[in-house]
């Protein structure tokens, strides 16, 4: 393992320290328990709080700021944050209109946020994101995983909360977007959890993991490496099979890097995905390309499609001022 570390046990704190200093106009960092809030507390709105294991940066701390999250609780690398973090974050950002948790659907995240919700004396709701269509929902699985589609949920729910919408309205928009969004990832290499010091899984030069999760969890199947157009076609087909959008649908196309794949390749993927989706009768009305939901240093990418309507488009376009997303300001 070759990484920029001083002491792996201090990595998260040192990185968050840098994050706070680099974005001191936007965010404040609290330690013990650890959470990030906006620099200036918002009032008269539902407080939107998210969180999850570190290693997916810029998710979630990079989305704290005007128009998006009020607070984020980072856990250890690939490990859910703990209820004391959520309780402290909720106390810090609560603004009398209730609290909405946005939680990716993993057992650990769900249970820790659930325990925090049971302990908090406020009106509270949770949006669970589960956009990963690589995991087939059945009685044999715990349900789909929340991956890059979470960014779209956080952006739009953050936007509607700024309008003073009540808790039920914010939750309803989050649930709607989640239901209209599907993602699938592919890994070319493993990732290395710093504290483990070696790659999470073995994969040869000639293999890819189709349907990989953002922690390096295996996905649908191990396949042989092929040219990009063929891989992207399989990914787009998986999404279309899952979402079943009607011809003529307007969509948001997000091509997300998993950490070690350069933008040059992400745009190449976008190029192919755009062509295939257009051929299938979709209109790509909005787009985003970059590293938004990563898996530490994994080489690979995910494709996310969200079926748009006027409400989602409006809240996607509204101003946002965070470390990782910034427009209209």
């Amino acid at each position: 393992m070759k990484k920029f570390t001083n002491n792996v046990n201090h990595m998260l704190t040192e990185s968050l320290g840098g994050f706070e200093k680099a974005h001191q106009d936007l965010v404040s960092l609290q330690l013990e328990p650890t959470f990030i809030t906006r620099k200036h507390k918002a009032s008269n709105k539902v407080a939107i709080i998210s969180g999850g294991g570190a290693g997916h940066e810029p998710l979630h701390a990079g989305f704290v700021g005007a128009g998006m999250l009020d607070a984020a609780c980072p856990g250890q690398v690939f490990t859910s944050p703990t209820p004391d973090q959520m309780l402290a974050a909720a106390e810090a950002v609560h603004a009398d209109k209730g609290i909405l948790f946005i939680v990716k659907n993993y057992a650990g995240d769900v249970m820790n946020f659930e325990m925090a919700a049971e302990m908090l004396p406020y009106q509270l709701a949770t949006v669970l994101t589960s956009d990963d269509c690589a995991v087939i929902n059945s009685t044999y699985t715990e349900g789909r995983r929340g991956v890059a589609g979470t960014v779209i949920v956080e952006k739009c729910v953050g936007s509607i909360a700024e309008t003073g919408a009540d808790l039920a309205t914010c939750k309803a928009l989050g649930d709607k977007i989640n239901a209209q969004t599907a993602s699938i990832g592919v890994a070319l290499t493993s990732c290395t959890v710093p504290a483990a010091g070696h790659p999470t899984f073995e994969i040869s030069e000639s293999e890819i993991e189709m349907g990989v999760g953002i922690h390096g969890e295996p996905g649908r199947k191990r396949e042989s490496m092929r040219e990009a157009d063929v891989i992207v076609k399989d990914m787009v087909d998986a999404i279309l099979t899952d979402l079943k959008p009607t011809r003529g649908s307007e969509i948001l196309l997000l091509v997300n890097g998993l950490g070690a794949t350069p933008l040059m390749e992400l745009y190449l993927i976008y190029n192919t995905a755009e062509k295939l989706l257009t051929q299938n009768g979709m209109t790509i009305a909005r787009s985003l390309v970059g590293n938004y939901t990563t898996a530490i240093d994994m080489a690979g990418a995910s494709i996310t499609v969200c079926i748009l309507d006027d409400e989602i488009k409006h809240h996607w376009d509204s101003p946002v001022h965070t470390a990782a997303l910034r427009w209209g300001v």
Binding site: P33, G53, G75, Q76, V77, F78, T79, S80, P81, T82, P83, D84, Y106, A107, G108, M111, N112, E114, M115, A134, V135, T139, Y140, T141, E142, R145, V193, A195, A196, T200, F201, G211, G213, H215, G216, E217, P218, G219
Partner: protein
């Protein structure tokens, strides 16, 4: 006999040492069919509790178990944090009620802990999780205690139940936890959570045989 806080502290230290000793096994299992963080999380919890001896020693057993639960909840994270915390909360509640003054009381408290864990994780037996060890052990503990077996016999029975439960995870398809997306690929591997529970339970039995608790 009755459950003593000094035994709880000794068990915490013994578990910490045992988890470190089994690092390669636990880690490689989680890397095969999990996401590779289970060992680190369990170690972080074990290390923290082992370091709390001074804080725990003056407390009554149920208070010590509750304190352990709260500490685990804020240090482990992941799924293990709420699950282990729920276990110790359930155990504490029952010990407070029955005093833990014989093996049947302790068995009942262990079972209550497992029941809280089941409620939190919404799990059941046969899903390739730690419950495949914990549920058979809880049953066996009560069966053996109710038959008035000796401590030696109870420990042998519990260890056997833990080993058998662990082995049962080998040929299961995971339907809970992070291996759940794997389908048939999880077959042939033991579950890492079941393994760490088996290690802890075996260690506490070994310690019990050496002590008067």
């Amino acid at each position: 006999m009755s459950l003593q806080t000094i035994f709880i502290c000794a068990a915490a230290s013994a578990i910490h040492v045992a988890i470190i000793a089994h690092k390669p096994e636990i880690e490689s299992l989680d890397q095969a069919i999990g996401d590779g963080d289970h060992y680190i999380n369990v170690l972080r919890g074990a290390e923290t509790i082992a370091g709390m001896t001074d804080e725990l020693a003056p407390l009554a057993p149920d208070e010590a178990l509750n304190k352990i639960a709260m500490k685990l909840l804020s240090t482990i994270g992941g799924a293990s944090g709420p699950l282990f915390a729920s276990f110790f909360m359930g155990m504490a509640k029952t010990i407070k009620h029955n005093g833990g003054s014989n093996y049947l009381d302790i068995a009942a408290a262990f079972a209550a802990g497992v029941q809280e864990l089941i409620k939190r994780g919404k799990g059941k037996i046969g899903e390739k999780t730690m419950l495949d060890v914990l549920i058979p052990v809880a049953h066996q503990f009560i069966f053996s205690a109710i038959e008035n077996k000796t401590k030696e016999e109870i420990c042998i029975d519990i260890k056997a139940a833990a080993d058998k439960g662990l082995e049962s995870t080998r040929n299961l398809v995971a339907t809970k936890g992070r291996a759940a997306g794997l389908g048939d690929r999880a077959i042939g591997h033991l579950d890492a959570g079941a393994k760490s529970c088996q290690v802890m339970i075996t260690e506490v039995c070994t310690l019990s045989l050496k002590s008067n608790n």
